[in-house]
Symmetry: C3
Subunit: 247 residues, 3 copies
């Protein structure tokens, strides 16, 4: 039987954690800079990826820009969450911020055409936060995620600036077949859109127009014009309780 | 660029894990009592919180009461889950019990006005269980959570005694704006209510009356009288399969 | 107060991780074979389970079959996911594959009548992936899970071959009371069924007929004939945005 180097999961976990620490804490950055480079080269060599050193240099050169973007994201968190206590709390205790951080790092490697490693990084943070953002997704500035568990953002999604997304939201594909690998399969979300909990938006040619609000539990497979309010026409039945919930 | 002490996440993770072990295992309690105190003081000092020792003493004094509450919760689990095998299994293998344990610990610190640390603890267990209970929520006795992934219980929620909640349930805010920080933004759930999977209950002035059953997938933004059965009037369409799922 | 050996969670976590590594990587298998046996015996002894050595031998004898099944699952992943890059990526970075792996291992122990440990293993992987598969569930060949967060597959579920399941799907019980412990409480899914995101299928006498497609968000408590397409008749309201989302 073929062997797979599955314990690379552990190496990537420690590497990604350390990279996150180094990005926000200059003491950690100094302490870990050798470790990070060595481990990066080791991971790439395990995955039989060539030019590790050149890729590392390109990646490192992008990190200050990634940090600036994340500082903007953190401000969006502070401005949007009534339960937030301080900017420091965002960096230390917000899973949405943690997930966006690892997404911006993995997306940088994805754009450098590194295979597998970006996906291993996104699975590391999916494991911690329940937020599954494919490293190939395109996400603008000041992105805000609240709670986050169950969010899925597919590979070809495009999210513009100042978008807010709550737990359980799916930006997914409507037909899932292997021959669609190269096609845009996931939605486009224009700027200033807010998507409430558990809404599902499916399809590669779908555009949610700027400034729209998508209500909780809404299920959309068609485009929506800008400045829309989309709600879910639910009917519930309230009656005195008798025998269980089956009718 | 400003440094944030993000690797405090690791310290809080180990501290919280150890605290959980000490609460239920007297051997662990002895082995770790020095470590717990020292680490607590170190975390508070990192967060620039004063009076660490006094807070630790107050916190320690509350632990026996927390343990008693959790033993009541464990009995609720045993009584409610047809798949449970023994009381020991609840302590060792139930994510809902694990999440309630860390909630009751973090809530105790929250009530002692400790900032950030309770939220870091709740994010530690949110990461493990997918259950996001804000440390500020108020939860009565004999609380039962099944499966749990995707549950969100907001900061100002009030949950009375003997309540049961399934996976994906949100007790959330209906309007999320920063100036509502001091207002009750999340629902009140009276005693003996059962809320099935993926139900969403939104709004700070909403009360779900005692003994009510809220069916799976129900979406509620208004109060419900006691002894109600609330179901979701779903319509599904069943037809022979032809070409995919888009109409 | 009674002590519970809660720190066994850590032992089971390391054991399960190591078992997964050994299953797919022959270097790891050699390096860890002593550790795995010793730790298995230690865990069983902690749980006061007798005949540890005989159980270990029976378990070890099943592992090659488990590996073969998982290699079939991996091929199903590769064939179904348009975003997959290579077979190696499935083993290294797919949470659904990780969850199915631990399920097949825990199910093998469940069928050997080992108590608690299989559930601790399923909670270990539920913690990482958000996918909650009870070790007692029966699952056929070539099972595919995409994204996965929020999936719940109950103890008495039966899933035949070539089934595909997306994030947030529940195969659950419709009435949850303790006296139903020995009854089939969860659905049967026939071969070649595809169940899209957040669908909920409840009840022990429910059968989803072969080759059916269950659309996203569908809520089913009755059986469905083979070759069906089941969709959710949603109504959404799209209008120009004015003041928030409450009507």
């Amino acid at each position: 039987m073929k062997s797979y180097n599955v314990c690379l999961k552990d190496t990537v976990k420690t590497f990604t954690k350390c990279l996150f620490y180094s990005l926000f804490d200059c003491e950690q950055e100094e302490a870990h800079s050798d470790y990070l480079e060595k481990t990066f080269l080791k991971i790439l060599s395990s995955l039989e990826i060539e030019n590790g050193e050149a890729i590392w240099e390109s990646f490192k050169a992008e990190l200050p820009k990634v940090r600036l973007q994340l500082d903007l994201d953190a401000v969006a968190f502070e401005n949007n969450d009534p339960a937030s206590y301080s900017l420091e709390e965002i960096y230390l205790a917000y899973p949405g911020f943690h997930a966006i951080s690892i997404y911006r790092l993995s997306n940088t490697l994805y754009k450098l055409n590194v295979p597998i490693l970006p996906r291993m990084m996104s699975e590391y943070i999916h494991g911690i936060t329940g937020i599954d953002i494919h490293p190939g997704a395109t996400i603008g500035e000041s992105f805000y995620i609240d709670h986050g568990t169950g969010i899925v953002i597919g590979e070809t999604s495009i999210i513009k600036d100042n978008v807010k997304i709550y737990q359980g939201v799916t930006l997914g594909g409507i037909q899932v077949s292997k021959d669609l690998a190269k096609v845009k399969r996931h939605p486009t979300i224009e700027s200033n859109v807010c998507i409430y909990a558990n809404a599902t938006i499916l399809g590669g040619d779908i555009v949610i127009g700027a400034n729209s609000i998508i209500g909780a539990n809404v299920w959309i497979t068609h485009s929506v014009p800008e400045n829309s309010l989309v709600t879910y026409k639910t009917e519930i039945k309230i009656r005195p309780k008798k025998n269980g919930i089956r009718e």
